[in-house]
């Protein structure tokens, strides 16, 4: 219980709301890496998902790969990427500090974010009634018109659902960056552990959970806004792919 009160006190302490280690800064950093990773993942996963979803080819392969990716913990990705990222700095000419923090964190989050978006985009398009596609084709829609005017709008709730899942697990897992000296809310958790300061640690946990839920809520809203009107809102369905399930945050060593 005293942990709770201590945590609360820590959170309310104005000291922690300013400066380079202040909560606003940390949230900003946390959001920065999350959004960049998400955006990059979307740039890759959406087109690929759309193509395999529209054509129906290579779907199972992509989905299975995405699912099995879960068996590799993000922390392993982080440390596997770290050395090359550092070593490439001289040749590629970026700041070593990028190779130390941003690049490994980004890579791990990027890889983490791809499967849900990919699988949901694919699945969403597949779920569109084939009769509709047939009717559209029969009326002389071109393939890309079918994709953009029919399949995409109808699949939008599912696709955004995928982005939502990605967002939640990226926000929850980006704490990992703190291990390689990245900022973000992970700092509070890592530092809290290192300094044996439970209030700091749990404040970090609470903030991360809060941010994750906020992302969840926001995207849920977007999802509702983007759901085409005139459709009965689909109830919750079974999980068909691991990618539909947010990954629990990776552990901190």
């Amino acid at each position: 219980m005293d942990v709770l009160t201590a945590t609360l006190a820590w959170l309310l302490d104005p000291i922690h709301w300013s400066g380079p280690d202040g909560i606003p800064t940390r949230i900003a950093e946390h959001l920065a890496i999350s959004i960049v990773s998400l955006a990059a993942a979307g740039l890759v996963a959406l087109p690929v998902g759309a193509i395999i979803g529209h054509t129906g080819r290579g779907g199972t392969l992509a989905v299975n790969l995405a699912n099995l990716g879960r068996a590799v913990p993000s922390y392993a990705v982080l440390v596997i990427v770290l050395p090359p990222a550092l070593q490439l700095a001289p040749t590629l000419g970026y700041e070593p500090s990028l190779g130390l923090s941003e690049i490994p964190t980004f890579t791990a989050m990027f890889l983490l974010a791809i499967p849900p978006i990919l699988v949901n985009t694919y699945g969403g398009l597949r779920e569109v009634d084939r009769d509709l596609v047939e009717a559209a084709r029969g009326m002389g829609m071109r393939e890309r018109q079918i994709l953009f005017r029919l399949e995409a709008p109808l699949a939008m709730p599912v696709i955004v659902g995928g982005i939502r899942t990605s967002a939640v697990q990226v926000v929850a897992t980006a704490t990992l960056g703190a291990v390689v000296a990245y900022g973000g809310l992970g700092r509070y958790i890592v530092d809290g552990i290192a300094r044996n300061e439970n209030d700091r640690l749990f404040a970090g946990v609470v903030l991360v959970a809060g941010l994750a839920l906020a992302a969840e809520g926001l995207l849920a809203l977007v999802q509702r806004l983007l759901s085409p009107r005139g459709l009965p809102s689909a109830g919750e369905h079974a999980f068909r792919n691991l990618a539909e399930v947010p990954a629990p945050p990776a552990f901190l060593p």
């Binding site: 070593p96 190779g99 703190a178 390689v180 000296a181 890592v190 290192a194």
Partner: protein
């Protein structure tokens, strides 16, 4: 070693990293030879796990670094004086988990070492930590997250060596860990806090800056054991038990720790084998 009567079962734990495991393994082997049944819980991930485990009686015995062990409970206490640290630690532990005893600590230690790459050393001609103050802003520092709150880190750097904390360029990286060594080797940081026995130092040929003003805590290794376990032993057994462990401690010089570290971490020998070979060679088995 002696037998004599049935010996109780002892649960031995260790911290996550290999050196702690190695020493714990040594304790285990000598005790087994003496007829104790040993349950190992090695490589417990973090103090967050080990400390509750020991206090809660999940383990009876573990090797402890008297400096950071003390710091975990009171960051202001640890000093460069081993006896002082041991005493302070004993004082605190007596009140924990129904009483915990700190046995003799090893001559050797694995203390915090501030190291730089050879090229940096050459460029700024660095040999001691006092040399750092002048060039502090030209360097990127790799310091552990707890440094800020740790008198032996931030405190020592500012008060003793006149280095501002936080430094102009700081990367927060856990000491002695993989990322910080990688970062140092690849120039993401120029000064890093490692552990003096860490094989990486040898591997990458890092230069250890002499702690010329003795600020770093004495980090000698001592067996710490729960009193309720000791209570199970007849007085004769108790003396024998403590002697066994103290004998091991006695053999652990800094050089030994470093060598054995290389065996485990570089040559990838198994902790158990390395421990056995060493103990046999020292005639403790």
């Amino acid at each position: 070693g002696t037998g004599g009567g049935s010996k109780p079962t002892i649960k031995i734990g260790s911290d996550g990293f290999y050196e702690s495991q190695l020493v714990a393994e040594m304790y285990a082997q000598v005790l087994e030879k003496a007829g104790y049944t040993v349950e190992r819980s090695l490589a417990l991930g973090a103090r967050k796990v080990t400390s509750p485990a020991l206090e809660g009686g999940q383990i009876d015995l573990k090797p402890e670094y008297i400096g950071s062990g003390l710091g975990y409970y009171d960051a202001s206490k640890p000093s460069g004086d081993a006896d002082a640290n041991a005493a302070a630690l004993q004082e605190i532990l007596s009140g924990k988990g129904g009483g915990i005893t700190v046995l003799d600590y090893s001559p050797g230690e694995d203390t915090n070492a501030f190291v730089v790459r050879p090229d940096t050393a050459a460029k700024f001609s660095l040999t001691t930590m006092s040399d750092l103050a002048a060039v502090q802003d030209e360097l990127t520092w790799g310091l552990p997250p707890e440094c800020e709150t740790n008198p032996l880190c931030a405190g020592a750097l500012t008060d003793t060596y006149g280095i501002d904390f936080p430094p102009a360029n700081l990367e927060a990286l856990a000491a002695c860990d993989a990322p910080i060594a990688e970062a140092l080797q690849n120039g993401a940081v120029d000064v890093a806090e490692l552990c003096s026995t860490q094989p990486a130092i040898a591997q990458f040929g890092f230069v250890v800056l002499e702690d010329d003003k003795q600020t770093q805590p004495a980090e000698n290794l001592a067996p710490i054991v729960r009193n309720d376990f000791l209570a199970k032993l007849s007085s004769s057994d108790k003396t024998a038990f403590e002697k066994l462990l103290n004998d091991v401690s006695a053999k652990l010089t800094t050089e030994v720790l470093t060598e054995l570290g290389v065996e485990v971490a570089v040559n990838q020998k198994d902790v158990a084998d390395v421990a056995r070979d060493f103990l046999t060679e020292q005639g403790l088995l």
